[in-house]
Symmetry: C2
Subunit: 311 residues, 2 copies
Amino acid sequence: MKKGEFSFIGDIATLFSALPHHGFEPIGDDCTVLPMGDEALVMTTDMLVEDIHFLRGASSAEEVGQKSLYVNLSDVAAMGATPIATLLSIALPESAQGEWAEEFMRGYHTVAEREGVALAGGDTTASRDKIAINVVAIGRAPLANIKRRSQAKVGDAICVTGKLGISSKGLVDIMFGDLNTEAAKAHRVAQARTKEGVWLGTRSEVHAMMDISDGIASDIKHITNLSGVGARIALESIPTDYDIRYATTGGEDYELLLTVDKDSVESLTTALYEATGTQLTKIGEITEGSTIEWLENGKPTELEMKGFTHF
Amino acid sequence: MKKGEFSFIGDIATLFSALPHHGFEPIGDDCTVLPMGDEALVMTTDMLVEDIHFLRGASSAEEVGQKSLYVNLSDVAAMGATPIATLLSIALPESAQGEWAEEFMRGYHTVAEREGVALAGGDTTASRDKIAINVVAIGRAPLANIKRRSQAKVGDAICVTGKLGISSKGLVDIMFGDLNTEAAKAHRVAQARTKEGVWLGTRSEVHAMMDISDGIASDIKHITNLSGVGARIALESIPTDYDIRYATTGGEDYELLLTVDKDSVESLTTALYEATGTQLTKIGEITEGSTIEWLENGKPTELEMKGFTHF
């Protein structure tokens, strides 16, 4: 579960699964998938609420604007799809209807322009005293490129893009009042591996893929559960500049987590770097069974799973 | 502007219009339109905020669940498209995370089942003290069926489905504490003319179409502005059981407002009634120029435009 999320009805999916699905694939991936002939549209929706996902005193409006778009583009990229458009709903109290709103839109526009996505629709409304933002991101890809969490195969290498842990390190910095560290800034703005996701979507040796929003310790379970497999991860292989707890349980890094045919890891790593400049790192492998094993220098270890107390 | 809306940046559209549109049509209709070959997807997003769009004391959770879906299905129907799926984001304070949430989902499910739409994705999150709900509705139609606000022609008949005014009459009832009138109930639950919208989408004699969310006095301007025409409306022709102010400036009736080739009104009215049991009524005609003229028994009249003080 993401920060501030909770499961308010355990079986919403069950309640609604009897309804006609009109071609939409079942819920479970970063995006919902609507195949249309040889193509697919993917869509994701995400709500950010003041004092739950951001503090007006800690993040600038421009940073909130950037982050609210990036976290959704990340979900699209994790499917192997190209983000093409977004729908933005925003509820603003009077105190945020002037300068805050304009700065927010500037941040949102900066990312939309950088990533080449349209603002295709939206809704603006008042609210009593807290800001609420909902972003829908829409992506498009050849249907064959779509990557799902359910496609990991026993023996696959588990890989991640980039480095992990900077965002949760940044959150801790912010909690201690260090707003200006590189990590704090990374936490407030986020990122999306859009070009990497689209590129990886074209590669058949990539089996399962998702983005890392809750930390790999939590996110890998989505892949193992939906694929009916287990996983073994070597802590020392995880690329990070920070404490390993940040890199495993901290979340909000928005790097990609993928499983790759074991014989193709090296060639894929080289090719991804050449295409995008982004490093791919093998951190473990998919196993039979259903358990997640953590190794430290070859020895089984327990991961401290308590995670953060989020603000 | 809908209840609680405001224009926080006059030219968001301008700021974003320079970005690639990836096939999405420009903003301006009830839904954004994405043509895909001979078909089109339409999408709309709408945020409802506690104490702005509903009061927990005046609407049951089930009614809020029904209304939040209906108002979006109405936007899809207004394009001539069939609603196929929704994405639901919901931010809930602790006080609403148990029973309220379950009742809300029951209401949402009731309408989803009745209208045959899938729940294709969503997001749940906590909030500090107010409920925020965002619904995205997705529709599909042959591209040729899509109706836009910009297609009214001089000489067209202006028509509406059903009767107007019940929702705003209901809001007034609620403000006076009469929660149990038929109008109050209609206000709290809303409706969507889905089968009528889809049927009207197939008819080439229907030129422009939209739903009535803000009252015809306000909504007709979207059609005249985007079509480059004027309009003349006869107050006594407007079908209503209530004060004419409710029927013209009250809003939230979610009936359809359409312009129809002038020689086809009679045949269309008969055919719509046979197909759906819903009455179509001619209330005026599209004129040259850009003004909206209101007539009362053939004499020009001024419409009292002050509208409601919403809660």
